[in-house]
Amino acid sequence: MILSDPVQALVSINLILTLSLLFPFVAGVWSLGLPGFMAVGAYTAAWCSTNMGLPITASLAIGVVASAAISIPFGLLALRIHGIYLAIATLAAAELITLFFSHFEPTGGVMGFAGIPYIDAYWAVIAAALMFLLSLLIYRSRFGKALFAVGSDPIVANCNGLNVPMLQMLALAIGAGLAGLAGGLFSHYYSFISPSNFQFSRTVDILLFLVAGGLTPLGSLVGSFTLTLVPQLSSALETWAPALYAVVVIVLMAFMPGGIFPKNRVAPLIAYIKSHRKPRDSVQSQRKPAAAPQLDVTKN
C-alpha cells in the first residue's frame, strides 16, 4: 500500500539518479552536473517520442546517448579542475544547461514540454533494477576496481599504469548516461517537464541519499530507498514531517558517518547491529557467529 505506483516510480528514478552520482564520485570526480544531464536526457527522450513518434525504448536510449555526449565538455573540465572547485564548476555548467532550456522555445521554454506519452511505473522499476545489477557488476569488475583506485589516489593509480583521465571521463559518462535515463523515465512518467524540474535542489537531495547510504551500489540502493520512503510514512506529522526526515539523516550519520554500506557488504552492518543489541543470555550470544556467511548478498 505504501509502495503505490507513483512511489515506485519515485524510488526507482531516485535510485538511478543516486547511481549516476555514485560513479563519478567513486572515481574522484566531484561532478554535480546531475540536473543538467537529467534535463538533456529528459528533453531528448521527450522530443523523440512526442515530436518524432519514435518508440519509447528508442527515445530513452537516445536520451542516454545525448546526456553521455554532453558529459564530454564536463569531462574536459574535470581534467583541469578538481575537488570542490570541480563541484562548483559542474554546478555552474549544469545551471547553464537549465538556463538554455528556459530559453529554448522549441521545447517550450519556461512553459515546459507537455503531452509526453505516458509509461507505467514498472518501466522505471525494471530500469532501476537493471541499472542496479549493472552497477554491482561494474563495481566488482576490474573496471570498477580501476575507478575506485583512481578515486582513492590518482597519482598512485597513474603510477600503476591506469589511464586516469580516460577512466575519469568514462565514469563521468556513465554517470551522465544514468542521469539521462532517469530524465527520460521522469519525462514519460510525469508527462510534463520544465526547467524547474532540474534544479540544484535535486542534486542536494540525491547527494543526501548517496552519503547516507554509502558510496557503493548497495549504499545507493538503501539510501535512495529509505530516504524516499521516510517522507511517505511521516504524513501523520503534518507540518513537522520534514523535520523527521532531517533527524533521521543526522542520527544515521552520527552512528554511521561513512554511510550504511560504506563497503558493498551486508555483513559488517549486521555485525554492527548485533553488537549493539543487549544480549538476553550472554551464553547465547557467544554461541552465534558474528556474521553468518549466507547473509552476504554481495561479496566485494
Binding site: 500500500m1 503505490s4 507513483p6 519556461v110 512553459m111 510534463f192 520544465s194 504524513s235 514531517a241
Partner: protein, 388 residues
C-alpha cells in the same frame, strides 16, 4: 514465543480494521491535494482553512441530502513528484473529487495523473495558460488567467491617471504565468488604452529568489516611466514595493493577480496600486461575509502573524468545495453509489457549469475547463484595498 506474538499482533490489527469499518460513518470524501509543507506552505495552510470552513458550512446545511462531507488532506510538499503520489493516495481512499494543487508546478504533473485516475481535480490557484486545456476531461481550474481582467485594470488606471503615457514591465522570467501575463496579456491591454510599454520584449527581470531589489528599482528609476507593471508573485511584489518606498519612487503600480490582501496594502501605503481579481473580500453578500469573517478568525488563531484577508486562491478553494457539494446534491448522488459513478457525475456537472452563483460572483466553466468570472478592479488607499 515469536509466533505467538505475531498471532497476537495480527489479531489486534484485524480487530482494529473491522472496528474501523463497522464504526465508520457514511460520508462523501473530498480530497485536498495541498502544499502543506515546502515553499508554498503558507498558501497551503490558508487553503486548508478555507476548505475546512466550506466543508463545515455544507455540513451545517444538512450535508449532501443528509450525508456529511469529509475532507481528506494529502500533502504534496510543493513538489511536482509528490503531487502525483497525492493524487494516487486520494484516489485509493475513494474520494469523489480532488481540490488542488494550488500551484502550477504541482498541477502540471497532478493533472495528467488525475486524468489517469479518472477523478476530477480543481486547482484554485494555477494560472499558467492552457494547463486545463491540455488535460481534458478531468482537470479544471477555478483561477484562470484572463485577458479581460487586465484590460479592465488598465482601463480603471487610465481613468485615474490620464496623463500616464509610459509604463515598464517587471517580471520573473522563469515563471510560466508571468511569461504569459507580461509577455502576452499586458502589452495589448496597454496598447488598447494608448499607453506605451517602454520595455516590451525585454522586461525588467527580477529573479524569484532575489531578496535585494535595490538594483531593479534603480533600473526602473532610470527608465523614466509613469507607472510600473508588477507581474511578480505577491511576496516579491511586496519586496519591490518596499524598495520603491525606500528609494522614494513615486509612481502608481499595476499588478497581476493575487495582490489583494492586507499585507500588500500596508506596504503600499499612500502609493496607488491597481489589481484585478474575481473575488471581493469586502463583498456584502451573506456567504462572502460568513466566509471572510471565519477565515480571518481561524487564520489569526492557526497561522498567527500571516495574512487574514482571503486571497483569491482561498476564495477559489471555498467556492470549489461548494461546487463539488452542489454537484453531489444536484446529481442525487448517494454514498452507496459506486465511486466511479459519483466521479463521472461530478465531472459532467462541473464541465457543464454555467452561471453558477459563487462567492459573490457568477462563474461558468468554459470548454478548456477554466472558470470564467467577472473582473473586479481594486485600488489601494492608505493601507486598505478598495473595490472600484
Amino acid at each position: 514465543m515469536k509466533l505467538k506474538r505475531l498471532v497476537l499482533i495480527g489479531a489486534a490489527a484485524f480487530a482494529g480494521a473491522t472496528m474501523q469499518l463497522a464504526g465508520a460513518q457514511e460520508t462523501f470524501k473530498i480530497g485536498l491535494n495541498v502544499e502543506r509543507t515546502g515553499n508554498a506552505a503558507s498558501y497551503g495552510g490558508h487553503v486548508i482553512i478555507a476548505s475546512q470552513i466550506a466543508v463545515e458550512h455544507v455540513n451545517e446545511n444538512g450535508g449532501i441530502n443528509g450525508t456529511p462531507l469529509e475532507l481528506i488532506i494529502e500533502d504534496n510538499r510543493t513538489s511536482p513528484e509528490q503531487a502525483v503520489v497525492a493524487v494516487r493516495n486520494l484516489d485509493r481512499k475513494g474520494v469523489a473529487a480532488i481540490l488542488g494543487p494550488i500551484q502550477t508546478s504541482q498541477a502540471r504533473t497532478a493533472f495528467p495523473a488525475t486524468n489517469r485516475a479518472k477523478v476530477v481535480s480543481i486547482s484554485p490557484g494555477s494560472g499558467a495558460p492552457g494547463l486545463a486545456a491540455q488535460n481534458r476531461p478531468w482537470a479544471f481550474r477555478n483561477a484562470a488567467i484572463d485577458d479581460k481582467i487586465f484590460t479592465d485594470v488598465v482601463g480603471e488606471f487610465k481613468e485615474r491617471h490620464p496623463d500616464a503615457k509610459r509604463v515598464a514591465l517587471i517580471m520573473d522570467p522563469k515563471d510560466a504565468y508571468q511569461v504569459a501575463f507580461i509577455g502576452k496579456v499586458a502589452p495589448p491591454a496597454f496598447e488598447k488604452h494608448g499607453i506605451t510599454v517602454v520595455n516590451n520584449g525585454s522586461p525588467l527581470e527580477v529573479p524569484a529568489d532575489a531578496n535585494d531589489h535595490s538594483v531593479f528599482v534603480t533600473k526602473l528609476r532610470s527608465m523614466d516611466v509613469d507607472a510600473g507593471v508588477l507581474g511578480l508573485v505577491i511576496e516579491q511584489g511586496q519586496t519591490f514595493l518596499h524598495e520603491l518606498n525606500r528609494q522614494k519612487v513615486e509612481m502608481p503600480m499595476l499588478t497581476g493577480i493575487g495582490y489583494v490582501t492586507n499585507s500588500v496594502a500596508e506596504v503600499a501605503g499612500d502609493r496607488k496600486v491597481y489589481s484585478g481579481q474575481p473575488f471581493d473580500p469586502n463583498g456584502s453578500s451573506e456567504t462572502v461575509k460568513a466566509f471572510t469573517e471565519e477565515f480571518a478568525k481561524r487564520s489569526k488563531e492557526q497561522l498567527p502573524g500571516q495574512y487574514t484577508v482571503p486571497l483569491y486562491i482561498d476564495a477559489g478553494a471555498y467556492e470549489s468545495i461548494r461546487i463539488i457539494a452542489d454537484a453531489l446534491k444536484e446529481t442525487g448522488a448517494k454514498p452507496s453509489d459506486s465511486t466511479d459513478d459519483i466521479r463521472v457525475k461530478i465531472r459532467d456537472y462541473i464541465a457543464g457549469l454555467k452561471d453558477y452563483q459563487g462567492l459573490g460572483n457568477t462563474l461558468s466553466i468554459d470548454e478548456n475547463g477554466d472558470a470564467v468570472k467577472p473582473t473586479l478592479v481594486f485600488e489601494t488607499d492608505g493601507g486598505t484595498w478598495n473595490k472600484l
